[in-house]
Amino acid sequence: MNALSVRGLVKTYRNGVQALKGIDLDVEEGDFFALLGPNGAGKTTLIGIATSLVTKTAGTLSIFGHDIDRELEAAKACVGVVPQEINFNMFESPETILVNQAGFYGIERRVARERAENYLRQLHLWDKRDKMSRSLSGGMKRRLMIARALMNEPKLLILDEPTAGVDIEIRRSMWDFLRGINERGTTIILTTHYLEEAETLCRNIAIIDGGRIAERDRMSSLLLKLHTETFVLTLRNALSAAPKLDGYNVALVDNHTLEVEVSKNQNLNDIFSRLSALGIEVLSMRNKVNRLEEIFMRLVEKGANGAAARAPEALSGIAVPETTAVGAQGGRS
């Protein structure tokens, strides 16, 4: 069964911005799914419709088979959401927030208290349980929202940039935490601008750009689509000019740093033996950018060139006449 199934989803905001232009998307039960896209692509809008914070203009959306038009309560009961922006009551304590949230899902207070304690401890918030939430640090607030989203033990957990502004150590521990939850059977949809995070955690991926799905694939297959990778080599001895390696694009960034572009049918052994032959010693090597990042940039750039006319509308939030007309018709149909 699909945890999330979306067909022909369109959203036109009241100000005329068409944030989603017909999205089709399936996320399988048990998946750890990355929903990526540049700022303003429509990720939060899509999540908003799935959690009924945003009304849809056209199309259908169902969660574990419950269509939100026909079985809204059942659909919502399956979901836990960590929103992009902090949205708990700053004057309530973390424990109160969690226990109340459970109550909104029909969970009795006794059970809710136990769960709250469990998650507060797991997310290292137990010490803060009775402090005013306003006094939590940014990273603590994020973790509180994760705990809150788990209170109803959702089958589908949706996280809208949960690690924004979280330090590296805590981010890593959040990754382990989310992996554990996913392994125990919860489907997770994650949006993030840290592509390394998506690459590490997620099995499937969709890239959304300008309100449309630009790419939908398994993470591993998508990464294979990357035809060339650029490596950065650090050298022991200074060079004054880039060495000539036939068939490779080589650039000298500074005296001690080389950039080499390697395509899929070439290999690294070959490069290293040639460099050795030239007496060049390599101390270390890394990818210039994360591989997913490379794919992402290419897809999004391609999209931006193809839809230059769209940019002003997307950027300013003010409707361009033609696009608005199209959006409005989409809305009526």
Binding site: A77, N89, F104, G106
Partner: protein, 271 residues
């Protein structure tokens, strides 16, 4: 779409009635917690105001006013002052709590939950009624210090106070849905509610007014509520009781439907 058949067979495990009941209780508990947490803003001011009214109007000026409707002025205004505090506090609680939830975005906690909108409205409105009745109770205690309170008809007292606080809690909810900033939260109470209450027979019997002012007064819904309530204590009323209760019941039903309808459409809450 064969998934649909799978889900309908799995659906019975979801007990919607229980979710709604627990969810409703949770909203009420949270609203109660809010009233208690900020008691200096929620419970105290009306008690102070009412005491001032009793001292100034009841004792100092009231002695010169003489009888009103066959009772001492203090006895006459006591039900009116209780009602005034119920009206103000029921309204204020819901408008500030629900608007605060919109403003602080924590209304989203409820909007993403499986609770249907009528449960959300019911929860907030119960919270408003709770505060209205708590403050009404405090003011009643204060009035007992100043005058003899008699009870003519307990059932009418309770019915009138419950319906009134229901109506004004709903009013506060409607205000909060439309409000876009804190000015719009204060506007209705200052410019509509307070004048209507003052002209709603709290301090005088409309029979003292000239003909035209009496006619005008009968268009004021608060007049009916105050008089029904006063009838419960003193057995006197400027308006027919049946009409008073009919107005309150119809208003409550219409306003509840309006609140739920607005939330269903997403007015003021969903993009």
């Amino acid at each position: 779409m064969n998934t649909a058949s799978v889900t309908t067979s799995a659906a019975p495990s979801l007990d919607l009635t229980r979710i709604r009941w627990v969810g409703y209780k949770t909203i009420v508990i949270r609203e109660y917690g809010r009233i208690i947490r900020i008691w200096g803003q929620t419970l105290v001011p009306s008690a102070v105001t009412a005491t001032l009214y009793f001292v100034i109007f009841g004792s100092l000026i009231g002695r010169r006013v003489g009888d009103m409707g066959g009772f001492s002025y203090m006895q006459y205004i006591a039900p009116g002052l209780i009602m005034m505090s119920v009206i103000t506090n029921s309204y204020a609680n819901v408008v500030s709590s629900f608007f605060g939830a919109k403003f602080g975005k924590h209304i989203e906690e409820l909007l993403v939950s499986p609770l249907p909108n009528w449960v959300i409205v019911a929860g907030y409105v119960t919270g408003g009624m709770l505060r209205g009745l708590m403050v009404g109770g405090v003011v009643t205690l204060v009035s007992v210090l100043f005058t003899d309170m008699q009870v003519h008809h307990l059932f009418i007292i309770l019915a009138a106070v419950l319906l009134t606080s229901l109506v004004f809690s709903l009013g506060g909810f409607i205000n909060a849905v439309f409000a876009k900033n804190f000015d719009q939260v204060n506007w209705v109470p200052s410019f509509i509610l307070t004048p209507l209450t003052y002209f709603g027979g709290v301090f005088y019997s409309v029979s003292l007014l000239p003909q035209w002012a009496q006619k005008l007064s009968y268009a004021n819904p608060i007049l009916y509520m105050v008089n029904a309530f006063r009838y419960g204590f003193l057995g006197v009323s400027d308006v027919p009781l049946r009409l008073a209760f009919a107005i309150m019941v119809v208003a409550a039903i219409a306003m509840f439907a309006l609140c739920v309808g607005m939330l269903n459409r997403g007015t003021g809450t969903r993009e």
